[in-house]
Symmetry: C2
């Protein structure tokens, strides 16, 4: 098969980790007789520098025309610590999500046996954790009306959800639960928020369509606790945009493998795959960044965007092998062991596919 | 001195744990020659049952007339799992916070050496943790306009903050930081929310009044991560209502001593002290609930509401002693060791004061 993939490397270590994911993807394509055309495009700080906006129209067109988007990371210190600057990289992210209709952010948290001791949690708490958050990504307080009144003395942000927005996200949640352990947790704050009550009643009404799925409803504060206490008690969780922002990040650090976690954002027009880690600007150009989260994001792309399960499994298998054999960058290298360079890890993966 | 304390025992185990806190407080009062008058009042499910509303006017008058409020816990299963029921115990909580002007919720998280191994985190991660959240409690999305449009198909919740609201909370944060390590963290989502930008600019403008305090600004998602990774890197944190709800609960489970954490809500008219744990309905009447969080809340009351440091220190000392000597309820009892009853723990504390 032929695939066109928009390649948004972004800032900082983005280009370096993307490079390895491209190498691995090309090798897989060759092995399984596919043809990939990569179409690079600018986003983030590098786009601001080049053309003045973080998500240029040209980039949008490239993404719309592609079968999928592979994304590195964005953000640069020169745009940091000034959330009120007129143009910022993360505005590009929000615009991109909205314009591409990426309404569901898929964020798995799982563990690698060889990395479990990196977790801040005790082994017995984290072992066996394998959960997925579906975070609503194009609605809620992120995109509601916001502004100032009273000469700037009062600020407001409006959180808005429609039943249709909840339904399309929840549908993905139910479907995902059906492919896993058939357990779905709806995370809300229905004891306080009207939007949460809409979420809850909408999900409740959908239960009858998925009689095999057991649905629980938990308050966001309770989930923030239980994620630390009994993460392996969760399977699929669905939630709104802001709760998802907080909880998926919390979930990402409990595994001890944060630097390895992939993610997907899926929606109406295309789907986008990216590592959950940031642009790690201090490491830019040093060839030390861990490329595995991006490589695993490419695996998600093969499986979910192209339906190529075998290809995805092959990538995951070689990643596991590299971890087991200690072919890892400095963030994962055992004390005293040699750390491999970003590109060395990529080369090893390609050679061992 | 003479003190009048409104006693809101609430539901579930509330009355039992409150009872022990009263015993300990009375003993301290006797020892230090104070006179306490307790004025009991209804709140929560028991108030709904008795008079149809969760925070009756009479209760409000009793709280307003008192020097402080000691609160147990509220909530009962018969009002659970139905966030859209017309009358619910937590509405009483919100009404009480608003009517009493309790704009700052003070939530410490600290560790007890003898309980550190109860933490889900590894010892080296949690040791030395001693942080305090100041959560804004009477504003934000909890109290903004909320409702439905489009025949119920669209729901909205408005988050609103004024500069004055931020200032009075931040002022408490700076003042608290001055009495501790002079480190203050302002938690916001200023890369997305206008209310967060107001928070950040307001706190930034106050920095000059507290030149000794080092202020950091962190995004709520980053704090949700770092709380699990390096909790002991924090000292005083200030944040808005909803972020505070989520993060304080997250912080409470990392210590391994959740069942012991006290809290205060302070404000314009009075201050209220309560354990952070819930009403634990299954344990009602069994005399097994751990009373220490409520006893430690009473200690906070002596220190902060009445300025009685020595009295507070005496309570904390005897609590520590009880922990060291294993005079604890079943939640903390070592394997094979006898668990003490709620009232036995209280009696022991009184006898050992
Ligand atoms: C950068 C920021 C706007 C973004 C978000 O809050 O969605 C980020 O935290 C994320 O989770 O992708
Ligand atoms: C019961 C609920 C309304 C309340 C809140 O969200 O404030 C509780 O979670 C708390 O933190 O005291």
């Amino acid at each position: 098969m032929k695939y066109t993939i928009a390649l948004l490397a972004g800032d900082g270590i983005g280009p370096e980790v993307i490079n390895e994911a491209v190498k691995v993807s090309d090798a897989i394509a060759k092995k399984f007789n596919h043809e990939i055309t990569w179409t690079p495009a600018l986003t983030g700080a590098c786009a601001i520098d080049a053309v003045g906006v973080p998500y240029p129209d040209e980039t949008h067109e490239i993404c719309m025309a592609a079968d999928a988007v592979l994304f590195g990371a964005i953000g640069h210190p020169k745009y940091d610590n000034d959330p009120s600057a007129p143009v910022r990289p993360e505005q590009g992210l929000l615009l991109m999500r909205k314009k591409l209709g990426l309404f569901a952010n898929v964020r798995p948290t799982f563990t690698f046996p060889s990395l479990i001791d990196n977790s801040p949690l005790k082994r017995e708490r984290i072992e066996g954790t394998d959960l997925v958050f579906l975070r609503e990504l194009t609605g809620g307080i992120y995109f509601g009306e916001k502004g100032r009144r009273d000469g700037g003395e009062t600020a407001f942000d409006n959180c808005v959800y429609t039943r249709a927005e909840v339904q399309r996200l929840a549908k993905k949640g139910f479907e995902l639960a059906m492919t896993r352990s058939k357990k779905l947790c709806c995370v809300d704050k229905a004891n306080v928020l009207e939007t949460s009550r809409l979420w809850r009643e909408t999900v409740q009404a959908m239960e009858k369509d998925y009689p095999e799925v057991t649905v629980s409803y938990e308050f966001v504060d309770a989930v923030a606790m239980r994620l630390v206490q009994w993460p392996n008690s969760y399977d699929v969780l669905i939630t709104e945009n802001l709760f998802g922002d907080i909880l998926t990040d919390e979930a990402s650090v409990i595994s001890g493998s944060m630097g390895l976690m992939p993610s997907a954002s899926v929606g109406e027009h295309t789907s986008l795959y990216e590592p959950i880690h940031g642009s790690y600007p201090q490491a830019t150009g040093l060839n030390i960044a861990n490329p595995l989260a991006t490589v695993l994001s490419a695996a998600m792309m093969f499986e979910d965007a192209f339906g190529l399960k075998e290809e995805a499994a092959a990538i995951r298998a070689v990643v596991n092998k590299s971890l087991e054999q200690g072919i890892v960058t400095e963030d994962l290298a055992a004390k005293g062991a040699t750390a491999y360079k970003t590109s060395d890890v990529g080369d090893w993966l390609v050679a061992n596919l």
